[in-house]
């Protein structure tokens, strides 16, 4: 398993085993804090009461260490890893909610014969587990469980989910009985009883809603500045991904205030003029002091690296190609960690879904059965209206963000429509959506699209190049603050992310925010149309798939849908 995950941890390797408990921890290290051998993992405390294998970063480890020293804790390294162990030994399970960072760890308490699997509250770091026959196995990537022969049987439903979502939504994976641990939760495995419990470690706090715009702006400004500063902590080189959009520009400008000449920026540009963001990137780059790396990505690069990208994605996904390339260049430029602008669109209403929710609410007043007819529409765009017939929160999400409709999926996979519907809508984990307001849109975008697509893809693509991607907008304190701002102050119907922009009006150039949204977008429509295999319909099985490829060649189909089909084909 360690060998399979070598790409994410090239600096060191370690194994710990305890025969009494029948337990083995493995670890591959990407050294970012305390680069010495003292950071070797799996790690134990000085008295060897607990062992840990840890992936990620605890940004507030220095503050926690001070508190623990006052309580009499003894440390032998300068790592955040050792702080986790001591925090657990002093505060028990209550320690989990004290960590500010991106993390997934397993901690074995020898005396109590318990192993905890714990995942950060924003779900940035992945943690997959498999339970079978009284045995718990876990890993940061699904392929580690596969290659070890632990979870070799595929989940028969993954293709349906993948074609609907464009990724495999949590908690599911491509493998049977392998699940993703939900964010902000811990799994406690009892070695004596050989069973487990899973609970949230979130602490309920009472905070007053912020209803005043000026107060909200000040709070946003202060909390984001603090989050960026906190996340720049590293003993290894750190940088920023700069796309030229609002979010990455803001993170770059704030990081520059702290790191100055030491801050490296990584950006990407294309020969395709419509996708070239250099003018906007340069607007920010001229404001900052450190080294600036700009890389050209061409069609040939895409063609050359696509097989590697597909191998690195761990599970099929229709996104992440952009992160794969920029992570590759960041790694080649000597970086071990970068900051990214993910999370702002979800928190402050940057996506069209925030405006589409009202329409969705109106449409739900019409009898659901009416929308069944939409599945017969020829236009791909209008076909998705058939999701309204299901009157189900998953269907609402898929209407906003989904790829193929159930009828299309049944056609592509040559299966029964009812079977597809059962797989997609038997999901009892979604809350009941009733208000169809900005808060509901933020829920969908944060917990579904960002969680399952953006964060998963970013982490797995970053780690494939031994690069840790940090996300200041998802800092626990910043996120909690944003969610505590009254909806009418937090969102603006006419201008996306207005509160965020206004909070930093003095440093963010107008030209960066006063333009149409571009996102971190590659010219993939063109590249995939010119790819020798992707648009070759003879390589696809079934009439439905072949007709979709024809549509794509006529440019009436989005590249992400054909890319999904292409990956399905590769797994046949």
């Amino acid at each position: 398993m360690c060998l399979t995950l070598q790409h994410g941890g090239p600096d060191d390797e370690g194994i710990f085993s305890d025969d009494r408990a029948g337990l083995v921890f493995g670890h591959r290290r990407l050294a970012i804090i305390d680069l010495s051998a003292k950071g070797h993992q799996p790690m134990a405390d000085v008295n060897q009461k607990a062992w840990i294998t840890f992936n990620g970063e605890i940004y507030n480890y220095a503050e926690l260490k001070q508190q623990l020293l006052l309580l009499g804790a003894k440390f032998y390294s300068d790592t955040d890893t050792e702080v986790i162990i001591q925090a657990y030994l002093h505060w028990g399970m209550a320690s989990f909610s004290k960590f500010r960072g991106i993390f997934a760890f397993a901690l074995y308490d020898i005396e109590k014969a318990l192993t905890y699997l714990v995942r950060d509250s924003s779900g940035v770091k992945p943690l997959y587990y498999h339970i079978d026959d009284g045995q718990l196995s876990f890993a940061s990537e699904v392929k580690a469980l596969k290659s070890a022969g632990i979870a070799v049987e595929p989940d028969s439903n993954w293709r349906v989910r993948f074609l609907a979502y464009g990724h495999i939504p949590e908690p599911y994976t491509t493998q049977k009985n392998v699940f993703s641990l939900p964010k902000g939760e811990f799994l406690c495995w009892n070695h004596k009883k050989q069973n487990c419990e899973i609970h949230s470690y979130h602490v309920i706090t009472r905070e007053k809603k912020i209803t005043d715009t000026a107060e909200a702006r000040e709070a946003v400004r202060s909390a984001l500045t603090c989050a960026v500063k906190r996340q720049l902590i590293a003993d290894a080189p750190i940088g920023v991904f700069l796309s030229g959009g609002i979010d990455s520009s803001l993170i770059t400008l704030l990081a520059n205030q702290h790191k100055r000449a030491q801050l490296k920026t990584i950006s990407i540009f294309f020969n395709e003029k419509a996708y070239d963001e250099r003018a906007f990137q340069n607007m920010i780059l001229k404001e900052i002091e450190g080294e600036k790396y700009a890389h050209l990505v061409r069609q040939d690069d895409f063609n050359e690296f696509l097989p590697q990208i597909i191998t690195d994605m761990d599970m099929p996904t229709t996104d992440g190609i952009n992160t794969w390339f920029i992570s590759k260049y960041a790694h080649e430029d000597g970086l071990k960690a970068v900051l990214s602008g993910i999370g702002a669109d979800e928190l402050f209403g940057g996506y069209p879904s925030f405006r589409r929710m009202k329409m969705l609410k109106k449409m739900h007043k019409i009898r659901p059965i009416t929308f069944r007819i939409a599945k017969y529409f020829a236009s791909d765009r209008f076909k998705k209206i058939s999701f309204l017939a299901y009157n189900h929160p998953t269907a609402d999400y898929l209407l906003l963000r989904g790829h193929y409709t159930p009828a299309d999926i049944a056609g592509i996979l040559d299966t029964d429509l009812r079977n597809v519907e059962n797989i997609l809508f038997n999901n009892k984990q979604l809350p009941y959506i009733s208000n169809y307001d900005e808060a509901d849109a933020a829920w969908f975008e944060t917990n579904m699209y960002m969680q399952n697509q953006l964060l998963r893809d970013t982490d797995v693509m970053g780690m494939s190049h031994a690069l840790e991607v940090r996300v200041p907008f998802l800092d626990e304190d910043f996120k909690r603050l944003a969610e505590n701002i009254a909806l009418e102050v937090r969102f603006n119907a006419h201008q996306p992310k207005k509160l965020l922009i206004d909070s930093f009006a003095d440093i963010l150039p107008r030209a960066i925010w006063d333009r149409s949204k571009m996102g971190f977008t590659f010219p993939l429509q063109q590249w995939m149309r010119e790819h020798p295999d992707i648009n070759n319909e003879t390589l696809y099985k079934g009439k439905r798939a072949q007709s979709i490829v024809k549509d794509f060649k006529q440019n009436t189909m989005h590249w992400s849908k054909i890319f999904a089909l292409y990956q399905i084909r590769m797994h046949e």
Binding site: F186, R367, H392
Partner: protein, 377 residues
Amino acid sequence: MSKKIILLTLQTFSTTGGIQKMTRTLAHSLNHITEQNHWDFKLWSLYDSRYDLMGQYLAAENFAGFGRSKARMGLKTLTQATKADIVIISHINLALIGLVIKILNPKCRLWLVAHGIEVWRQLSFVKRTFLKRYCDKVICVSGFTKTQMSNWHQLSDDKCVVLNNAIDPFIRQPDEFEKPEYLMNRYSLRSGDKVIFTLTRLASSEQYKGYEQVIKAVGSLKPGFPGLKYILSGQYDAAEEMRIKDLIRACDVEDEVILTGFLNENELVDHFLLADLFVLPSKKEGFGIVFIEALACGLPVICGNADGSVDAIRNGELGIAINVDNLAELEKTIIAYLTTPLTVAARESLQSRCLSYFNELDYRKNLLRLINDKLTA
């Protein structure tokens, strides 16, 4: 001889309240009885969709969710329910469907489940007609509801039968009463804190659950109980949230009262274990299934004395019923419990007595008796 039984409900799986929980157990019991006897059973639910089914209660082939489509439910009723031997209507709002079934199939035995406030009131003409002329049996979830049926609708004694609710067969029954550490952390509780717990729907349209009284009582009691906490759980609407928070501020109990919002069912038992006392001084519980769930975890309960709750506490054997308008009485009863907490042995005894009265096995036997009575009548 093969029999066909249909249970018609408004909502069983897509939301969770007392009526929904009762219906799940009823469906599970009927499913079991009909399997044993090689009869046929179907659960039809108007507002659930077919994806909402919780498979542990019954198999998918025995369930139909109509996803709010009255037309589909009506059509299915016309084609299939008219062939049933027994149709059980789980809510009076389905009276019209019951009426149609009986007109088309007079031989069908038609039962109504009477829960609480939905029938303790003046009813529309259709519902009255259904009750008096077409309904063969009214299953009352408590003796109180039976009395109310007689008072409000002058139903004869032999038409109404009391069948107390049972504990959900899938609820975990704890064998230890330790307070779960993860919940202590979640609510920042210290060992030694005394926890009062209420679980109910907090709706601005329903002003009878009595948690306001508990908030006021906590305000009075906090000087004498420095570690007193009140965990008030259940989904709330915006208007009720504002009203409760205003009351919490007015009573100066912002540090004592913890509003959790919706409680995930898989954490329900752990909340009963976390608490020292369950209090729901409601005025209009048909039965109060939450009381027997709390008791089944060995948690003492305080309820109101003017509704169906008294059945759940077996007229005082398992808990204490109070006059909910008398704040002093509520405070006095809370003090008594908090100053003399139950021993582990007493909690075990409470748990086993509750289970002996409200277990599904006995519920099933009573249900079968009712079915057989009717089938042979």
